[in-house]
Amino acid sequence: MGDIIQLFDDYQEHADFLTIYVREAHPTDEWQMKSNVKDDVCYAQPRNLSDRLAIASDFIERFQYPVPFGVDGMDNAANEAYAAWPERLYILDEGGKVAYRGGNGPFHYDPKEVRAWLAARYGEVKHPEGKPGANPQPAEKKS
């Protein structure tokens, strides 16, 4: 998460960004993770669009997420087209062709590869260690 926000901050003048919210990876009624219980991120798999939109809104509010955002429909068309679940990164070039295809998350999801692609084209953006905002923490969840 922090890596993506930092990428957006560093390269938004050179590249457009779009987050695409897809079906949940670890909902309470499927493969729930202990870490999600600890972090109070407990949602059932949405069965309709309004439920998916509500969770997406919670996500944006909790992390004050600044990256442009769209939500996949319940036909999961974007997810199917890009084989994206549970998380994945792509770069499309100016002509609408796939310029970078990341691997499936979580094991092959690597924002550093996207950074390297952007850095090769637009130059590296360096950060002094301990720069504030490099690893943003979630905002307090409202009770």
Binding site: I20, Q32, V67, A78, W85, Y90, I91
Partner: protein, 87 residues
């Protein structure tokens, strides 16, 4: 008969080793079962390759009524797509 028993033992051992490996990767035997049941059916590498024309799809804005297409968000610059969810 002996050959059948040997094949059965070998297959059983392979399955056991695979399950142990999956359990280590997933975190626990329970997680391994959930991974097989819930994650693997949805996880695909896909056929897209670098250089392919990028597929398009309709997305919803957070208000639920406005829609747009992925390709509309490329304004003469590369477009970084970040797929994911909250959980």
């Amino acid at each position: 008969m002996r050959v059948s028993i040997s094949i059965g033992i070998t297959l059983g051992a392979v399955l056991l080793i695979a399950f142990i490996g999956l359990s280590v990767m997933a975190g626990s035997p329970k997680d391994a079962v959930y991974m097989v049941r819930y994650a693997l059916p949805h996880m695909h590498r896909g056929n897209l390759k670098v250089g392919d024309s990028a597929p398009d799809a309709k997305l919803f804005a957070l208000n639920g009524s406005d829609t747009f297409h992925i390709r509309e968000r490329s304004n003469g610059k590369p477009l970084v797509l970040v797929f994911g969810s909250f959980t």
